[in-house]
Symmetry: C2
Subunit: 135 residues, 2 copies
DNA sequence: GCTACATCCTCTAGCTACTAGAGGAGCAAG
DNA sequence: CTTGCTCCTCTAGTAGCTAGAGGATGTAGC
């Protein structure tokens, strides 16, 4: 009953760029919409919902593959929720690892930078650390 | 005087993959080496050093652009060291930001996952959070 | 009806930093 | 002489878009 929305409207509502919406369609993350007589894509409210779901998941750092699975699960309300849980937990673990990695990195970079060098490159601690081949 | 090394040897010494070495050559990060009669690349110890420098910097998360600058600076021992310092500090700041970002993310993911769900998708907290369009 | 201007369309190429693979030549050891 | 390793070039793929060319259509004001 409701008029189909053009892609720009969907873009504003879901806060997903037009080009990104077309991209999602291309990789099968978003269903191929009907077209108007003038070959324009026509969307409905369900498409907006789906896009918002995707955007939320992307904001939380899920990759498109995980999102694909989560979307599939979201469509099966009677299924057990274990799988969705597992996906989220896996991602959480990955984020934790990345944080640990970056924290270790930061420590090294701080050690590298801490000595306020005002000398020449020849005595530059930063360059020195990079050039040293120990470890 | 020393024999030129084949790419495989350099690869082992610097712990940089053969394909990556060729890639670095292609983008101008590594000088184009002389070739042997049979068209093989011939490297010397300086190339190994340069590659180790690059690898160290990569391990510390510098991007190739920053590394390009750092390499240039490393070749000018009389220059002041400020610029190298600035590059390192900028990178350090970026790493710090990334950590903060991921830490916030982790908090959200933890909140999402904490409720051990054993129900159906219909009651799944993970899916629910993703589907909710507030904020 | 006419004129802007915004929006839509498709298609291609670019971004980062590599990696993988095809298809072929050369070299060293047994 | 054959086996197997290393080397060569070139192309395409990875993730997740983004930007731009070049063209058609819709809409608002006059």
């Amino acid at each position: 009953m409701s008029q189909p929305m053009p892609i720009g409207t969907v873009s504003r509502l879901a806060r997903v760029k037009v080009a990104t919406i077309r991209y999602y369609e291309g990789i099968g993350l978003l269903p191929v919409p009907a077209r108007t007589g003038a070959n324009r894509r026509g969307y409905d409210i369900m498409d907006v919902r789906r896009l918002k779901f995707i955007r939320h998941a992307r904001d939380l750092g899920f990759d498109l593959n995980a999102i694909r699975q989560l979307l599939a699960l979201a469509g099966l309300p009677e299924q057990p929720c274990d799988e969705a849980d597992a996906i989220a937990r896996t991602h959480l673990a990955a984020v934790g690892q990345k944080i640990d990695q970056l924290t270790a990195l930061r420590k090294e970079l701080e050690a590298m930078v801490e000595r306020g060098t005002h000398g020449r490159i020849a005595e530059c601690h930063v360059i020195e650390v990079l050039a040293n081949s120990d470890e």
